[in-house]
Every structure is written in structure tokens, then in C-alpha cells.
């Protein structure tokens, strides 16, 4: 199979989805262009200070790559990713494999290369407008840095507000500003496109009754999120906009612009319940006295571990959850407090006053999405989100164009990351051919052998940007430091007019003077050292022999008013750097050969989808299935809520898998043992009484889940008590028992969200609506009652819930402490429950009682977790390394999981997860060699007491105690160089390359004397 196509990929939208797709594809040598209309990448990500369900900071993740650190920085640093910010798509021609894209680079008016970020232009700019991320509570100038950590880190002039007064020109010493800057049209040729358009918040002002924009203390959830951010002007403690006082009582009103056909928003935005919960919890953490109340219709905590989070918010944080739609908010004239009426559980009305009201805004597709979609030829659905097939969730209507994230349907970060990975898998399936990839068998980079060097040849480069450093520092005094040092071969002042030119100049000097150590002193730590590290590699020096002293931001800038102090600090920093460069020992990071086969355990929908995706990219797959048939739990599923035929899908997938030459299917087989680490696993499979050994580079667990079987409500004792799945089978076969039933009662959350199973099974509400609609279709006269706690028909499923209500399905809510009661005297089922609307106990005879019993993890998970070294979460599903950055990954980066073994999910999600796991696995094994992390830890055996602290401290399981020698060992392929073991080791037996204790002490010595 030869794929003669352009391998370059265009990602439109630089938010979480776009960055994730880009990062995965970049690992496979695709050239990725990230087109972003904003002047910086990140989308809504930089807005988030804390994320659910851990309330941890969302900006950086210390977890295995990809993404290792922060997706924004990773994207910036990846050599295969090019960021096209401030650009708009203009036109598209061609077809899958060969698209021609034209786009417009909007004028930035500031030359990134020339600008030294001195901020004087901002100080003099007279134009002030609302800042984009400031959510209406913070201002910015017409010339501005989009946000503090913006990538690219550059000012930009917003054309619409700029008056072109020219004040900024006068103060810009590098001459970086050009008010005549024009937009430029450019062209690109790519093979595939991923759309990650993201979302916009609903315009809360459109719901005038809540007073957003009129009442000062009514704020949108976006504004509140910003107020909670430590980087905002509030310092993380929201104050009332009217008087700046800290609120004592805050109300959150849910579903503003969601589940509300009256304002054109028929769908559920899926994440507002959780983000409001997070906002309330974090507010309480910051201010224990604060009272928070959330007014909602149904709490939709259907994501992994979300139900526990919701319970914690109620029980540990004391957040009040009140089920009541709010009709209007009033402002009190003097206090500017807000007042509204809500209904209590007993039907009475209550009026309450709050200091602040936060409107939980729903999500809408971004503005002008229709035009863009038209240009691309991509079809949209009724709500203007991207139209996709349920079983091909990341494919748009145009072949070669894929979609991920909130532009497909409102969703949270983990789902977005999964979907973006799945879109990357689609791109790979189209463009990649594993067998055709370029493999470097030999040395991965040339490195001059300087291990036996007799003397050092150090070059010091003081990188100034048009004299900016010289204004704040006495450069001559600094250079005098180097006069007496015999190891220093040259001291050069480099004028950095552009990164590339500066880097080239240094590169030439290194070659000319045969330097073995380089010290750079200057501005802009990250960007410059990144450019220079590759320079050093290029001139065969090896990256560890360069050190960087930031005498710009850390000296000249922060001590701008005290030049002698700044100079003295700069001197000690440079000396410290010099010391470090001298102590650095040439060392080459290790690497390992990666085995290309992938083992997929489990032949259900998600496993099949993983296997197919990998095989389409040309990778070898072994698929192990315990039973003698492929298909898993989907074999007993017939139709989806959206009406798709599951059996047809399954037949198609199974036949494709069985016919694929790249997939070896082992039925009636079981994984017996798994050893090794990422890139090289060794597994033992028992197949038909025989044992088979398999070598593979990655493993995907798609071991499924099972329908939980109820142990109550006469299940198994009365033949008319069924589970949703068996009811579905009857309906699909139009069997009389179902089709002729006159009264059907469904009870939700039987075995979910209770003490034994404190998680939500996510799919049951949809199942109930699906089966209720099906029954109504077969027999419109049937009475269907759905007894529920919260209807969790999230996203576009909301439409079907609405439809079911419209068709006369009766939904009655019950409280967990007053569960429906069922009696079965002489075979007749009688269900009684309390209806809070009519405030009466209702008792009715049911022909069929259908129990939504939910999904349970496979009991086999425990055994698998044990042999494969995986963690299970408290509910018995596989636990991910990080719910956001690595949602399908174990800590050892070669093991992945998907489908029901990960969490309860609908079929579309299982397909998505299967593909996503495949994309993540294939990004790992694409390269025949993978390098180990830099700055790994090592053990000085003479000092090691074998106490094992490092073993328990290591977050990556990269430590073991050798049983024979009683000494700690480092497993190089798992060590990430985080240094935790170094800190925990009492006598310094654990050290880290380039950060040895003696090095650090010597450096400190230089700094503090």
C-alpha cells in the first residue's frame, strides 16, 4: 500500500484540540501548521486556573509526553510544528491527500524578531478596550501582549481599536512597530486538515431576565473564572464588581443558554454543571466563610470520577444544590445585592438574597463558523456544530478533513484530548504508511568526542538586543570577569537583531574557535536557549555543554532603576553559569529500540477500532479476544439513541479486522503475563491451551465492561423485570412482550450513584430515552414512566429527551432516600413512588419493569492490572496517568486503555477512544528509536544504603532495589529526570546528570559567596 500523498497537515484552531492533534502527528514526522486566528495559541486554555475534577492547576502537567509539560509550550518547541497565529483561512481547493489552502496573515504591526518586549509602547498607548481573556473585567491597550505567557510572545496591535496615533512608534527603540503593516495572503499544500474551532460562550445578555450587563454583580461564568485566576487583577479572590468587596453569598445559575429552545439552544453544553461545581469549590477553598448555591435542572456529572466530585462538593464543601429553574433576577437598589425566587422541594417558593450571581453560560459554535464551513465544504448540524456520523465521530462530511473538540459537540478537556487523538489517528490512517517511514538506523546525531579533553575551550557570548542590556548593566564590568580565566577562549558581544541571525553568528564562532563549552548571557531564556541548543547539536557539541544566564529579564529589567545592583547580580549569574559549564560532563542520552507491533487486548468495539486504526497506518497488530467471537458487549446492542444500527457496524468492523493482513486475531485467548517497559514488552498469551509469546512496543487494553445485574426489585425472580439491555433486545426483535406492553416503568440509577457504586454509568439515561422512544414508535398507546434522579442526556442527546417528553413519556424524579418501591404479589408488579409535582404518592401496575442497572467494570480488571502493572481507580476502572494530559495512558507510556475498561461510555465514545489509544500508541512506536529523558537520575552504589525511599518517591516507577546487591537501580527508560529521588535520598547516593549535588553547591557558592 503506497500512499502518495502530501504528508503535511493543517490544524485549524490552536486550542486544546488543535494542539493535541498537532503534537501527536508531529511525533510521526508530519509537518504541522497550526492556523490560529488569535495572535497567540491556547484557545480558552490560558483562562483556566484550576480544572475539575481535581481542582489542580490546569496550565502545566508534569506527566509523560506527549504532552509532557504544557501543550502550549510543547507546540511551540516541537520542531515539526509551525505556528501560524493571527491568520485566517481564506480558501480551500483539492481533495484528501492534496489540499491547497490559502490563508491570510493579518497585520500584527509589530515585528516579532525586532521587538524586545520593553513594554513602553503599551505605557504610551492611549486606547483602552476590553481584554479578550479579561472577560469584560480587565482592560488592555490597542497594542498589547495577548496574555502574560502568550506564545508567540509578542505584542500585537488590534486593528479595529487602534487610532494609528503613532505614539508607540516614538518610544519603540528597536523600531519594531510598523503601522503600515498589511495583511498578506499565503498558500499551503497539505494532505489533511483537522478542525479544532472550539467554542464561544453563549451571549448571557440575551437572557435579559438575569440582568447580565445591567446589574453589576451579575457576572458570567467566564468572568468569574477569570476573577478566580491568580493572574487576574483580583489575585484569585473574586470581588463584587459594584464595590470590590468579597462576596459572602454567591449563586450559580445553570443552563444559561443551554437546554433552552426558546433562545435557540436546544442542546446541553455538558460541562457547565462541573465547571460551576469547580468554581464553587475553589471559591470555598479560598474563602471558607463563603456560601455557594447552585441552581440547576439536572446535575450532569457523567464523566469519569465526576460523580464523586459532585458528592464531595455537597458533603465536604457544603455547597447547596437547589433544583429550580430561575425565572428572573432583581437587583436591590442600595446594596446592589441580587434577589430571586426559587421553588423548594416541597413546592413552596422561597426568596433569597445573594451578593453575587454567576451565570453558567453554555457553549455555542464560534462566530462566522458558517462562512468558514462553507469555504471548506464541511456540513454543519442543526445547531451549527460540525456534522459527523455517530460511528465516525471525528470525520467531517469532507474526506481528508477531520474534527475534534467542542466544535463537534460541547465537551470537557479529557474528551477533547481523546477526540483530538482520534482525529490524529484518522489523519494517520489517510497519510501514514508505517513501512515507508524513514528509519535512522545509525547514530542519531554526531557528537564530537570531548570526554577526554585536556583543557576547556569556553566561549562567552553576551547577547544584547540593540543595546538594551547595556542601558541597564555595566557590560564592561561583566566582561572584565573573564579576563583572567585561562579556559575562556573568547568573549563576544552579539547583537541579537533576530534569533536566527544571532544563533548563526554564535554557531560560526563555535566552529571557528573549536569551542567545547558555551555560556550565553542575555534576554529571553526559553526562546534563545531553544534556538541555541539546536545550534550546539549542529556543531557537534552536545546539548548539555551549554549554559545560559538570564541577565536580561532577571537583572537589567527587574532592577532597571539600580544599575550597580543589577550588574552585580548579573556578574554572579554569569559566574554561576560559567562554573556550571566547566563542570558539565559530555554525555549522550540513552535510547532504546522500539518494537513496532501493538498488542490489543479485547475484541469489542474499542479494541476493534484500535486494531483497525493501527493496521490502516501499516502497523502490525495482535488482537487477543477472550471469547470465541469478536464484538464484546456490542453483540447484544442493537440501535443507538440517534438510530444507528449497531449490528451493521459490528459486522463491518469484524469483517474488516478479520480480513486485514496486518491484524493477527487470537480468539479464545487470554493475556497471562506482561513484562517490560514502553517500546519493548514481552507478553504471554494462552490460546487454545497453548502458550504464545509476543514481542510488542505498546499495548492497548480494551477489555470492556459488563452490564451490572441488579440484586433488587425482583430481578431474576419475576420474568417481567428486565434490564435496559434485555428490553432493547425485545424491542429490536419487536417481540410481543415488549411491543404489546401497556404500562412500562423504568427505574434509573439501579446500582449506580449509590454507596456500592458511587459512579454514574453515563449511558443509562440515554438508554432509557432510546428504549422509551422505540416503544412509543412500536406502540404509541403505551404508557412509559421513567423514574430518575437526574436526567443525564448531555450534549445533543438532550434533543431526544425533549422528544420523549413531547411524545408523552412521563419522567418522574425521585430522591435517593425515597426510592421507588415495587411489590410483586401473585406475579403482578406494582410500582409506587412519590411524585413531587403533584405531591402525591402514586402506585401503578406495570406490565414491564425495566431497570437501568448501569455498567460495571470487568472483574478481570484486577487480574490484568496486577499482571500489567496498571492502576485501577476506586470504582475498578483503569486509572489514567493524568485525566487531562494523558487520559488513556498509564504512567509507563506504552500502556493505554480505552472503551468500557476506562469508563462507562456510549459507542461513539468507545470508537473515539479506541482510535485515540491507537494514535497515542503509534506516536510512540513510529520512530524506531526513542531517546530517554535528559538529566536522568543515577545511583552512586558505594553510597546507597538500599533504604528504598527513592523507590517509593519516584512517580514513574523508575526505581527498583536490586535484590542481590541491595542497591537502588534506575530504570533508564522510565526515568523522566524529575529529580524527586535526588531530593529524597539522604546522603546523595541519588544524583542527576548535570545537576549533581556538588555542581549545585558550587553554583550556589558562586552566587552567594
Amino acid at each position: 500500500m503506497s500512499k502518495d500523498m502530501n504528508r503535511d497537515v493543517l490544524v485549524i484552531g490552536g486550542g486544546i484540540a488543535g494542539m493535541q492533534s498537532a503534537l501527536l502527528l508531529a511525533e510521526k514526522d508530519h509537518r504541522i501548521y497550526v492556523l490560529e486566528s488569535a495572535p497567540a495559541i491556547g484557545g480558552f486554555f490560558p483562562l483556566l486556573d484550576r480544572t475539575f475534577p481535581t481542582n489542580s492547576c490546569g496550565v502545566c502537567f508534569m506527566s509523560p509526553k506527549p504532552p509532557a509539560y504544557c501543550p502550549i509550550y510543547e507546540s511551540d518547541f516541537h520542531e515539526n510544528i509551525e505556528l501560524l497565529t493571527n491568520c485566517e483561512l481564506k480558501d480551500l481547493a483539492g481533495q484528501a491527500g492534496n489540499f491547497e489552502v490559502s490563508y491570510v496573515e493579518k497585520p500584527r504591526f509589530v515585528d516579532i524578531e525586532k521587538c524586545d518586549l520593553c513594554n513602553r509602547c503599551v505605557e504610551v498607548c492611549p486606547v483602552e478596550v476590553d481584554s479578550e481573556l479579561g472577560a469584560g473585567i480587565e482592560k488592555r491597550k490597542a497594542i498589547h501582549l495577548p496574555f502574560a505567557q502568550a506564545i508567540p510572545r509578542s505584542y500585537v496591535i488590534d486593528e479595529t481599536s487602534c487610532t494609528k496615533c503613532g505614539d508607540c512608534l516614538k518610544v519603540c527603540s528597536p523600531g519594531a512597530i510598523n503601522l503600515q503593516d498589511k495583511s498578506r495572503e499565503r498558500k499551503l499544500n497539505v494532505g489533511a486538515i483537522v478542525l479544532g474551532f472550539g467554542f464561544e460562550p453563549f451571549q448571557g445578555e440575551n437572557k435579559g431576565e438575569y440582568g447580565l450587563g445591567r446589574y453589576k454583580n451579575v457576572v458570567s461564568s467566564i468572568q468569574y473564572e477569570r476573577m478566580m485566576s491568580f493572574s487576574s487583577s483580583t489575585g484569585g479572590l473574586p470581588g463584587r464588581p459594584s464595590d470590590g468587596k468579597r462576596p459572602k453569598k454567591v449563586a450559580f445559575i445553570q443552563c444559561v443558554g443551554s437546554r433552552d429552545p426558546s433562545c435557540g439552544q436546544g442542546y446541553c453544553s455538558s460541562i457547565c454543571c462541573m465547571y460551576a461545581t469547580k468554581q464553587a469549590m475553589v471559591s470555598k477553598e479560598r474563602d471558607k466563610e463563603l456560601e455557594a448555591a447552585i441552581f440547576y435542572m439536572d446535575i450532569r456529572a457523567m464523566g469519569k470520577d465526576y460523580e464523586r466530585y459532585y458528592e464531595r462538593a455537597k458533603q465536604e464543601y457544603g455547597i447547596r444544590y437547589l433544583r429550580s429553574a430561575i425565572s428572573a433576577v432583581r437587583e436591590l437598589q442600595r446594596s446592589k445585592c441580587l434577589m430571586f425566587t426559587y421553588g423548594l422541594e416541597n413546592g413552596q417558593l422561597e426568596e433569597e438574597e445573594f451578593d453575587m450571581v454567576v451565570l453558567s453560560l453554555g457553549f455555542i459554535p464560534p462566530a462566522r463558523v458558517k462562512e468558514t464551513a462553507e469555504r471548506l465544504g464541511v456540513e454543519l448540524n442543526e445547531y451549527n456544530f460540525c456534522l459527523t456520523d455517530e460511528f465516525r465521530p471525528t470525520e467531517t462530511s469532507v474526506p481528508g478533513i477531520y474534527v475534534a473538540g467542542a466544535f463537534r459537540e460541547p465537551r470537557d478537556i479529557p474528551e477533547t484530548v481523546v477526540e483530538a487523538s482520534s482525529a490524529a489517528a484518522d489523519v494517520s490512517g489517510l497519510l501514514d504508511d508505517f513501512e515507508q517511514r524513514a528509519v535512522e538506523e545509525e547514530e542519531f546525531f554526531e557528537e564530537k568526542d570531548i570526554a577526554d579533553e585536556e583543557s576547556l575551550a569556553i566561549g562567552v557570548f553576551i547577547c544584547d538586543n540593540r543595546g538594551v542590556l547595556a542601558q541597564g548593566l555595566d557590560i564592561e564590568e561583566i566582561t572584565r570577569l573573564f579576563e583572567q580565566d585561562p579556559d575562556i577562549v573568547c568573549v563576544e558581544k552579539v547583537n541579537i537583531t533576530s534569533l536566527k541571525k544571532g544563533a548563526d553568528e554564535i554557531k560560526n564562532k563555535i566552529a571557528e574557535k573549536e569551542l567545547t563549552r558555551v555560556v550565553i548571557a542575555g534576554h529571553r531564556g526559553m526562546a534563545l536557549s531553544k534556538a541555541l541548543r539546536s545550534v550546539c547539536k549542529a556543531v557537534s557539541t552536545g546539548s548539555c555543554l551549554l549554559d545560559y544566564a538570564n541577565i536580561g529579564e532577571q537583572c537589567a529589567n527587574v532592577h532597571a532603576l539600580d544599575s550597580p545592583a543589577a550588574t552585580s547580580k548579573a556578574k554572579s549569574l554569569v559566574q554561576a553559569s560559567l562554573r556550571k559549564a566547566k563542570l558539565a560532563v559530555p554525555r549522550r542520552a540513552g535510547r532504546k529500540r522500539v518494537c513496532s507491533r501493538v498488542l490489543v487486548v479485547g475484541g469489542g468495539i474499542s479494541g476493534l477500532s484500535s486494531g483497525l486504526s493501527l493496521a490502516e497506518q501499516g502497523m502490525d497488530v495482535t488482537l487477543v479476544e477472550k471469547s470465541d467471537k469478536l464484538g464484546g458487549i456490542a453483540r447484544t446492542a442493537y440501535y443507538t439513541l440517534k438510530g444507528s444500527d449497531i449490528q451493521a457496524l459490528l459486522r463491518d468492523m469484524v469483517s474488516r479486522v478479520e480480513a486485514h493482513p496486518k491484524i493477527e486475531v487470537l480468539k479464545g485467548s487470554e493475556l497471562k503475563a506482561l513484562e517490560g517497559t514502553w517500546g519493548s514488552y514481552h507478553s504471554l498469551i494462552s490460546a487454545d491451551g497453548e502458550e504464545k509469546e509476543i514481542l510488542h512496543g505498546a499495548v492497548i487494553f480494551a477489555t470492556g465492561g459488563r452490564e451490572a445485574l441488579p440484586d433488587e426489585y425482583f430481578f431474576g425472580k419475576n420474568e417481567n423485570v428486565l434490564t435496559q439491555k434485555s428490553f432493547e433486545r425485545l424491542l429490536a426483535g419487536r417481540e410481543e412482550k415488549a411491543a404489546k406492553a401497556k404500562t412500562v416503568v423504568m427505574i434509573q440509577c439501579v446500582g449506580s450513584r449509590d454507596e456500592k457504586h458511587p459512579y454514574c454509568s453515563r449511558v443509562c439515561c440515554g438508554q432509557a430515552v432510546k428504549n422509551a422512544l422505540k416503544l412509543k414508535e412500536l406502540n404509541p398507546e403505551a404508557d412509559v414512566y421513567v423514574l430518575y434522579r437526574d436526567m443525564r442526556t448531555y450534549g445533543f442527546y438532550e434533543k431526544y429527551y425533549h422528544e420523549a417528553r413531547g411524545k408523552g413519556v412521563i419522567f418522574v424524579r425521585y430522591e435517593p432516600q425515597a426510592r421507588p418501591e415495587v411489590s410483586a404479589s401473585s406475579g403482578t408488579l406494582r410500582v409506587s413512588f412519590f411524585d413531587s409535582v403533584v405531591k402525591e404518592r402514586i402506585s401503578l401496575e406495570a406490565d414491564l419493569l425495566v431497570l437501568s442497572s448501569g455498567i460495571a467494570p470487568n472483574e478481570d480488571n484486577h487480574r490484568l492490572a496486577e499482571i500489567a502493572g496498571l492502576e485501577l481507580n476506586a470504582d475498578g476502572f483503569f486509572a489514567e496517568a493524568n485525566p487531562k494530559a494523558a487520559p488513556l495512558d498509564s504512567v509507563d507510556r506504552g500502556k493505554y486503555f480505552c472503551g468500557l475498561s476506562h469508563s462507562p461510555n456510549h459507542i461513539g465514545d468507545a470508537i473515539c477512544q479506541g482510535k485515540a489509544a491507537a494514535a497515542r500508541a503509534s506516536a510512540l512506536i513510529w520512530n524506531a528509536f526513542q531517546e530517554y529523558a535528559d538529566n536522568q537520575a543515577y545511583v552512586n552504589e558505594r553510597l546507597c544504603s538500599g533504604c528504598g525511599i527513592c523507590v517509593s518517591a519516584c512517580p514513574y516507577d523508575a526505581r527498583i532495589i536490586d535484590e542481590v546487591s541491595n542497591k537502588a537501580n534506575v530504570l533508564e527508560d522510565l526515568c523522566k529526570g524529575c529529580g524527586t529521588c535526588v531530593i529524597s535520598c539522604p546522603n546523595g547516593a541519588s544524583q542527576q546528570y548535570d545537576f549533581e549535588r556538588s555542581t549545585i553547591l558550587d553554583i550556589l557558592d558562586e552566587v552567594i559567596g
Binding site: 558505594r942 528504598g948 525511599i949 532495589i961 529524597s984 539522604p986 546522603n987
Partner: protein, 389 residues
């Protein structure tokens, strides 16, 4: 009794003392353990030939128990250190080890750091009324050749333990809140009992059944009310003393200058580290190359500051040692006994250690299964949000 919450539930029985000779009865019990092969060997303090002190001895021949004294009123060496040597590699058979409460706690602590292996060890904890400095005891014997070791138990039955002959207990014993063993396989109880008549024998956990069978002991649930009361009385008194000592010390070290002043007489002999049962490193970083400075380096430092103290690296030595092991410090006070400059190292560790231990809800030596704070990360510990007020 906060600190004693972790005390293992043990069953107990009473051993009758013959002829008011407590020591002899104890030796007899230990002898039976050896003769019945319940243990192959026994580690127990034994009288020095000169009769003026005791030293831990590993006994293989039960006849050698003649001079053994499981209630020796001195602690020349912290036995956890000996246990670490003794159990460093696998061996056959079981060893019984007689330990004071602080020795037992240190041993349990060392199990967590893989420095002691108790798999083949039967720990025999003995109530401790307090110990004397080795030199003081020798003098006491010199003054009174007839001094009976049993005399040191006077007052133990009613919790009124007084030091003898004008000598005082070691300072750390005066403020020790753990006069009874927390978790030995066998515990020998003396507090709250008339030791001239009876000794309490407690057994729990892994050897309980074997002991009961082999020695036909009638082990019963529960502790005597009087014993509980006496233990509470002793710990209460010592806790009061502890608060006093710690408060006084706080005054001496509450600002950095005073703190440095307090440690200024350190001669960097490293004795405190050498005798510490918790300092388990094979080679301390302070004895390694990292702290072997070049001559030029010393002169550089002196040049920069005008003058430097010699020997150097004293403050950093104590602070580093503290940061490594203050959470595990059992307060045995061996460091104080070994310090030629009389530095209050033990109470300094007590001051810092107790705050740290409280912070992590950690009691060193309480339970081998309890993970030391340095090796675990709990998401909800030390809650403080970066950037918050």
C-alpha cells in the same frame, strides 16, 4: 494517651516472681525461650566484667544468661543499630531481642527504610523506668558496691519513679512519653505491678499462639486498670517536663543569631550521627567528597568574608541531618550522651520533630506499615495554595 493510640492489642498473663527476685524470674523466662528453641539466640544486655555497666550481647548458650539484665538502667548503644548489623543478610533460625521502648521504636522505624529486617526476629520489649548516663551508673556502683539492679524498679508499681543517689535520668528519659513498648512481639510489663511478686507478660500478633502453646500460657484479653493508670501518670508527668524543656529551648533558638549561637560550640566530631539509630546512611554525605573542599576554596571563602569559622560546615550538617530524619526521630537521646560539647541536639530534634510529626500525623516507630512522610505524597497534606495569601 495520644501517642499510644497505636499500641497493639495484646493478650497477657502474669508470671509469678519467686523469692522476690524479679531479675532471676526474667532470666528464667528468657532461658525457657532459648531452651525450648523458640529462639536460637538472644540479644540482651549483660553485666560488664567490672560490674559497673552493661552491654548488649548475643547469647547462644543459655548458661551465659547468668549475668543478663533485661532491665539494665543504662543504654550504652542504641540496639536498633545493632539489629541493623545483625539482620543485614538472611540467616536461619530466630533471634530474640530484648529492647527498651525507644530501641524498639527505632528498630520499627528502620524496618521502613529496609535497614532492619524483623522477619526472623522476636522482639521482646521491656518497660523502661528511665536510664542513666553510662558514667553516672559506674560512679553509682563505685559508691555502693551492693547496689542491686532490681532497686532501679522501685516506685514502678505506683508510677513514682525517682532517680537514685542524687543522680538524674538522662535528660531525654526525663521527657520521654513512651515508657512502655508500643508493639513488640512480646512485652514485659513492670509499670503498675508489684515487681517483687509478679511480672506482666504480653504477647500479640504473629507469635501469640505459638507462645501460648509452647509455654502453656493462659493469655487473656485486656490490661490491668492499675497499669493503665500508672502509665498515664508517668507519661503525664514526663509530658509536663517535656513542654518545660522544649519551651526553654525555644527561647534559646527563636532567632537565627541565637540558634547559631547555641550550635556554635560544635566541633564537627559527627558523634551525634554515628550513634543515631535513625542515621542509617552507609556513608554520610558530610564524610563524602562533596564536603572535602580544596585548600584554595577555604582561602576563597575567607577572602570573601574576611574570616571563616573552622571547622566549617557545622550548621549545614545539623540542619541537613535534621531535614533528613526529624520525622523519624524517636528521642532516644543517644546524640546528647555522645556530644562532647553538650549541645542540646536531642531536644532540638524533639522541638522540630514533634511539630513535623504532628503535621504529618506521624508517630515514628508506631507501626512498620505506616509509611514515613518523606516517601509518600498525599494530595491533601500541607494544604496551601501557591500564590494564595
Amino acid at each position: 494517651m495520644d501517642g499510644l493510640d497505636g499500641v497493639q492489642r495484646m493478650k497477657s498473663t502474669i508470671i509469678k516472681v519467686e523469692n522476690k527476685d524479679t531479675l532471676r524470674s526474667l532470666r528464667k523466662f528468657l532461658g525457657r525461650l532459648m531452651e525450648s528453641k523458640f529462639v536460637e539466640a538472644l540479644l540482651v544486655p549483660k553485666l560488664l566484667p567490672g560490674g559497673d555497666g552493661f552491654v548488649q550481647s548475643l547469647i547462644k548458650d543459655s548458661r551465659m544468661l547468668e549475668d543478663a539484665n533485661p532491665i539494665a538502667p543504662t543504654m550504652a548503644v542504641q540496639s536498633a543499630r545493632i539489629l541493623s548489623e545483625l539482620t543485614s543478610s538472611p540467616f536461619d533460625g530466630r533471634i530474640g531481642v530484648v529492647l527498651k521502648p525507644c530501641e524498639l521504636r527505632a528498630a520499627v522505624e528502620m524496618v521502613k527504610f529496609l535497614q532492619v529486617n524483623l522477619d526472623n526476629v522476636v522482639t521482646i520489649g521491656v518497660d523502661c523506668p528511665g536510664t542513666y548516663e553510662v558514667g553516672d551508673y559506674a560512679e553509682m556502683v563505685k559508691k555502693d558496691r551492693e547496689l542491686s539492679p532490681q532497686a532501679f524498679l522501685e516506685g514502678a508499681s505506683e508510677g513514682e519513679i525517682r532517680p537514685r543517689q542524687g543522680y538524674n535520668f538522662r535528660e531525654c528519659c526525663q521527657i520521654c512519653e513512651y515508657p512502655v513498648p508500643l508493639n513488640g512481639d512480646i512485652t514485659i510489663g513492670l509499670l503498675g505491678l508489684d515487681h517483687s511478686k509478679e511480672i506482666l507478660l504480653m504477647a500479640g500478633g504473629r507469635f501469640e499462639k505459638e507462645l501460648a502453646q509452647k509455654f502453656s500460657l493462659e493469655l487473656k484479653e485486656g490490661n490491668s486498670a492499675n497499669r493503665e493508670k500508672v502509665i498515664e501518670k508517668v507519661t503525664h508527668k514526663r509530658r509536663e517536663q517535656r513542654v518545660k524543656v522544649i519551651d526553654e529551648l525555644k527561647e534559646r533558638v527563636n532567632i537565627i543569631e541565637k540558634f547559631m549561637q547555641t550550635l556554635s560550640t560544635c566541633i564537627r566530631c559527627h558523634n551525634c550521627m554515628n550513634v543515631c539509630p535513625i542515621c542509617y546512611c552507609k556513608e554520610c554525605v558530610f564524610k563524602s567528597l562533596v564536603f572535602e573542599h580544596r585548600s584554595e576554596q577555604f582561602l576563597n571563602w575567607a577572602d570573601r568574608r574576611g574570616a571563616i569559622r573552622m571547622p566549617g560546615d557545622t550548621l549545614i550538617f545539623h540542619l541537613t541531618r535534621m531535614s533528613h530524619m526529624a520525622t523519624s526521630c524517636v528521642g532516644c537521646g543517644m546524640c546528647d550522651s555522645a556530644c562532647p560539647s553538650d549541645l542540646p541536639i536531642s531536644s532540638l530534634f524533639g522541638l522540630i520533630g514533634s511539630e513535623l510529626q504532628e503535621m504529618f500525623e506521624y508517630v515514628p516507630g508506631r507501626d512498620a506499615a505506616e509509611e514515613p512522610p518523606v516517601s509518600v505524597f498525599k494530595e491533601d497534606e500541607l494544604q496551601a495554595e501557591a500564590g494564595s495569601e
